[in-house]
Each structure stands twice: as structure tokens, then as C-alpha cells.
């Protein structure tokens, strides 16, 4: 097992190299330059000033040379300074990343907590009333674009009902609240974004859980478990469940990048100061160092989480433990 983890960790390095190379190429091929903003905002800027600016950002050099420079610096863990405000990139990300990680972890938790019982319930009576209603609801949720649903919910809960705040992560008077009120305030702000970012995942996971559970319940060892005289509860939650939940762990690992990518969209919609929105802003301003640093850090996080999912898979399935 230890050997397997080491091998997987070593595999992250070439993958990171590929991701960074592609991202660097794509962002440089995209129209627009970091200097364009200064240019268009200030029509009187002189050609010489522009040239100096390009030189300052090293934009006068060819792409491959700049990539090589970037690679050397990054290997020494120096991500450079942001083009837009000259602050160290790593500092800007460190400010923004915790919110994003918290929202994603909460979403992940919500997805598991909602999808597993739902899927199991549907599997107990396939084609029963609950199953039919859930199937329809799930396809509906699956098909809805997240950003649109987010806007609808913001309008309904935030503006029509005035129950929940529509944007940001804290209220204006946050500083003056007691610790308990602070937590409540945070939760109220997080409720919509977390719900929205998990809905699609819940729909998909519940479908997987349902079919996985139906399959497990048809296995011979379930008949054996019943013949032993176990209660239906034990049969379902001890014997069928553990077998049924295994494929879900892998699917969860595979869907992580989607969840992280989704952060970019809903953080922008909900105006949450997280790493997703930072990335969006960086792309819009063609802030190359910031874009690249985010790509690298988020890739590492995603790949680590993926590895974690695979390791836990081996932990629940003894058949895999032997193979590795």
C-alpha cells in the first residue's frame, strides 16, 4: 500500500507539468494582453510607455522562453507577483483559498449526506412512488444550469422572501457581531452557495447509489445474510451497503474536478471572495502569474483528493488491498 501511494504521488509530477504547459499555452493564445487594460483605459498612453510595460512584464520575450522562466521559478516555489497589484501571488491565493475549500468540503458532505440515504430509499422499492418522484426530480436537477438556478434562488429567497442574504460571505456589520452571531451570519451566507453547488452532485450520486444498491441487493450473499436470521436493517446497512458504496467513492473522486471548476461559476454569481472568483478575475485581467499559480495549486489539491479517494477505496474493499 505504501509503495502504491508513493507511485501515485510520483505520478502527480508529470501530470502537473502537462497541465501547466497546456494552461500556459492556452492563456497566451487567448486574445488580449495584460497591458491591454492600461492601454484601453488610458488612450493617451504613449507607445514608449507601453513598450516599457511589456518589458517589465517580460511580454516581449517568446512564449516558450517565458514558460521556461516560469517553470524554473515555480520549481523553487516562487510564484511571482500579480500583474494587477504587484502583491505576491501566493499571498493573494492564501487569502482566498480557505473559503473555497470550506464551501467545497461542505458541498461534498452535503452530497454524501443527502445522496446516499436517497439512493438507498429508492433502491428498496425500485419503481415505487418515491423512486418515480425522485427519478423525475433528479433528472430535472441534473439538467438545470447551475448559474441560472443560483440566480432564481437568490431572487426568491433573497429578494422576494428576504430570508437570506444574496451575496458575499459576511454581512456589513460582521465585525460588530458576537461570536455566535458571526457563525450564524456565515452559515446564512453559505446556505445558498453550498446548496447550489451540491444539487447536481446529489442528483448524480443518488442515481449511482440507487443502481449500486439494487445490484448489491441482488447478490447471493444477501440471501445468505437473510438465511442467517439477520434483521433487515443489518442485511441492508451492513451487508448490502458496504458493497454498494464502494463504486461511489471512485465516482466521487472523479467528480472532484467538476466541483472545484464549479467554484469559479458560483463564486462569481454569489460574489464570494474565494479562489474561484479570484481565478475568474485573473483570467479577465490576463494576470498570467496569478492564473498559473491557481492552476498549479488547485491541480495539486484535486489530485491529492483523488488519491485519497482511491486509497479509501482500497481500504473498504479487501479484494483491492491484495492486488496493490
Amino acid at each position: 500500500m505504501g509503495k502504491y501511494i508513493l507511485r501515485r504521488l510520483a505520478g502527480i509530477i508529470p501530470l502537473l507539468f502537462g497541465i501547466s504547459l497546456l494552461s500556459f499555452a492556452v492563456i497566451n493564445l487567448a486574445p488580449g494582453k495584460p497591458v491591454a487594460l492600461e492601454n484601453s483605459l488610458n488612450p493617451r498612453v504613449s507607445a514608449r510607455a507601453l513598450e516599457r510595460l511589456e518589458k517589465l512584464y517580460e511580454l516581449d520575450k517568446p512564449v516558450y522562453e517565458r514558460y521556461w522562466h516560469w517553470l524554473k521559478r515555480t520549481a523553487a516555489l516562487d510564484f511571482g507577483r500579480s500583474f494587477s497589484d504587484n502583491r505576491p501571488v501566493i499571498e493573494k491565493i492564501a487569502e482566498r483559498l480557505p473559503v473555497t475549500i470550506i464551501i467545497n468540503l461542505l458541498s461534498l458532505f452535503l452530497i454524501f449526506a443527502a445522496a446516499i440515504p436517497l439512493g438507498v430509499r429508492c433502491a428498496l422499492r425500485p419503481d415505487g412512488m418515491l423512486d418515480k418522484v425522485m427519478t423525475a426530480a433528479m433528472f430535472f436537477l441534473f439538467a438545470i444550469p447551475t448559474f441560472w438556478l443560483a440566480l432564481l434562488l437568490m431572487n426568491f429567497f433573497g429578494i422576494n422572501l428576504r430570508w437570506l442574504p444574496v451575496s458575499g460571505i459576511t454581512s456589513l456589520n460582521y465585525e460588530y457581531l458576537s461570536p455566535v452571531e458571526k457563525v450564524i451570519d456565515l452559515l446564512r451566507h453559505l446556505l445558498l452557495p453550498v446548496t447550489v453547488s451540491s444539487l447536481g452532485g446529489i442528483a448524480a450520486m443518488a442515481r449511482y447509489m440507487r443502481s449500486s444498491m439494487i445490484e448489491a441487493l441482488a447478490q447471493p450473499y444477501i440471501r445468505m445474510a437473510r438465511a442467517k436470521g439477520l434483521t433487515e436493517r443489518s442485511v441492508l446497512y451492513k451487508h448490502a451497503f458496504r458493497n454498494a458504496v464502494m463504486p461511489l467513492v471512485t465516482i466521487m473522486g472523479l467528480s472532484l474536478p467538476g466541483l472545484v471548476g464549479g467554484s469559479v461559476i458560483f463564486e462569481s454569481v454569489f460574489a464570494i471572495p474565494g479562489a474561484g472568483r479570484l481565478f475568474y478575475e485573473a483570467v479577465m485581467m490576463r494576470d498570467y502569474p496569478l492564473i498559473m499559480a491557481e492552476v498549479v495549486i488547485v491541480s495539486i489539491l484535486t489530485m491529492t483528493a483523488n488519491l485519497l479517494a482511491d486509497v479509501s477505496y482500497a481500504w473498504i474493499d479487501p479484494r483491492l488491498r491484495d492486488k496493490r
Binding site: 447478490q219 447471493p220 445468505m224 445474510a225 437473510r226 438465511a227 436470521g229 473498504i316 474493499d317 491484495d322
Partner: protein, 265 residues
């Protein structure tokens, strides 16, 4: 201790497939005394397994409707509520099945699965139940029982798994053991060993054995009585010697002919 243990009368099982009804078991009637070995023979699909599962309410709910009577030690099992039936399953009536490797749960160790039965019916603690599991495995002729208890089903051979399943079935000293083609998936040598083991354990523990098979050769070795099933009906049900000496039903003759043909090799 030689009274009637199980008395099945006019047992019917009907499967519904949409609008179609399939009669899988039709008016099956037989008795089993304590310590008796009844071999139920017949080709695949003749209703042997369905009969054995119906006795303890193990057929899928909703898909199958069971009628008739099956009295076990005087108590009617057909129509008994699930919660009460559970007290019979495993504890007084135990099962072993055809493919031990798929009837054992792949994610729990052998020891855990046996200990589960011990804990369920005897209320033993975790450690005590595990010790008991190892003892049961030893009784089933597994030499390194400690290691077998720690193993998972995929790590053991079919024969070893069947021995484990037998240990599990006998964990609660049942009065009736229903063995549904327990040796069909095993090779000849292992088959002989498992049958010998079952007969030895039966001697020691004194349970009744309902042995389901399509192989009459086994019946000749172990049966007191033989029941032959054909298309959902019990077509012949007699003492072994009588049946082998003068088979009455055409299907019994066919089965015997097939057995003798194989026997000549």
C-alpha cells in the same frame, strides 16, 4: 428425539411476472423426522431450491406467493410474520448454498461473518464470538483456523469457503440444515470431502439434513429417504432402498439411468 421435525403439506409457490403466473412448486408434501437425511433430487428448474427457500420465507417478497403449510416442530412457518421467522432462521433452520464464494460477503472476513451469527443468536461478545468462530472452523476440518478466520472469501478456495459456510450454518446448533447443492461447484475430491464432513457433523450434532442435489449418486450414499421433484411436483417420495430397487415414476427412472451410465466409467 425421533418425532417429526418438519411437516410440509400442499406447499404451492407461484411467481408473478407481470400478468403471467408461473407455478414453481405445486402441492408438495413431505415429512422429515429428527436426525433424518432427506435427499431432494431433480433436474434444474424442478422447484427444489424454491421449495427449500419457501419453508423459511426467503423468497423475494411481492414476487412470489406461497400457500400451503410447513410446520416446524409444531409451529406453522407459512404466513408467520418476518420478525418471528427470523428467530428460526440461522438458529433452528440453517442454510448452505451452491456457490460458497458468492454467498459469503466479499468485504467481511470469514471470522467476522461466522462471529456475526454467533453474536446474533447467542448474544456473545465480540472477542468470545471470534474465538467461537475459530473453534467452528476447526470443527469443519480447517487446519489453520486462525488464519482462515482472518482471511476474506476471495483468498480461499471454493472448498475452504464451503467449509466456512458450514461452520457458519452450524454456529447456532440448528435442528435442520438445508444444503442446496453444496457440492455442485466443487471438484470431485473436494465434493467427497465436504459430504464426508457433513455426515460426520450430522453424527456429532444430530441435526436433520435436507440435501438438495441433481446427482442421485449422492443420494445412494447419504439418504434415508429420497424425494424426486419434476416440474414443480414431488413425483416420488420413498425410502432410499425402495426407490433404488423399484423406481416408479418415469423421471426417477431417467435420473437413475443417467446415474448408472455415469457409474460405468
Amino acid at each position: 428425539m425421533t418425532g417429526t421435525l418438519l411437516s410440509v403439506k400442499d406447499l404451492n409457490v407461484v411467481f408473478r411476472h407481470g400478468l403471467k403466473e408461473i407455478r414453481a412448486v405445486n402441492r408438495v408434501t413431505f415429512d422429515m423426522r429428527r436426525r433424518e437425511t432427506l435427499v431432494m433430487a431433480g433436474e434444474s428448474g424442478s422447484g427444489k431450491t424454491v421449495t427449500s427457500l419457501a419453508i423459511c420465507g426467503l423468497l423475494p417478497e411481492g414476487a412470489a406467493s406461497v400457500s400451503g403449510s410447513a410446520r416446524f416442530a409444531g409451529e406453522e412457518l407459512i404466513g408467520m410474520p418476518e420478525a418471528q421467522l427470523r428467530a428460526f432462521r440461522g438458529r433452528r433452520i440453517a442454510y448452505i448454498f451452491q456457490e460458497p464464494s458468492s454467498f459469503l460477503n466479499p468485504v467481511y472476513s470469514i471470522g467476522e461473518q461466522i462471529a456475526e451469527a454467533v453474536r446474533l443468536h447467542h448474544g456473545a461478545g465480540r472477542a468470545a464470538a471470534l474465538r467461537e468462530a475459530v473453534k467452528l472452523l476447526e470443527m469443519s476440518g480447517i487446519s489453520d483456523a486462525q488464519r482462515a478466520a482472518r482471511s476474506y472469501p476471495h483468498q480461499l478456495s471454493g472448498g475452504m469457503n464451503q467449509r466456512a459456510a458450514i461452520s457458519m450454518a452450524l454456529a447456532c446448533r440448528p435442528e435442520l440444515l438445508i444444503a442446496d447443492e453444496p457440492t455442485t461447484s466443487l471438484d470431485m475430491t473436494t465434493e467427497a470431502e465436504i459430504i464426508k464432513l457433513l455426515m460426520r457433523l450430522k453424527q456429532e450434532a444430530g441435526f436433520s439434513l435436507l440435501f438438495i442435489t441433481h446427482n442421485l449418486a449422492i443420494a445412494e450414499h447419504i439418504a434415508d429417504k429420497v424425494a424426486v421433484m419434476f416440474k414443480g411436483e414431488l413425483v416420488e417420495y420413498r425410502e432410499k432402498e425402495e426407490l433404488f430397487a423399484s423406481p416408479e415414476h418415469a423421471h426417477t427412472k431417467e435420473l437413475l439411468a443417467a446415474y448408472e451410465k455415469v457409474g460405468k466409467f
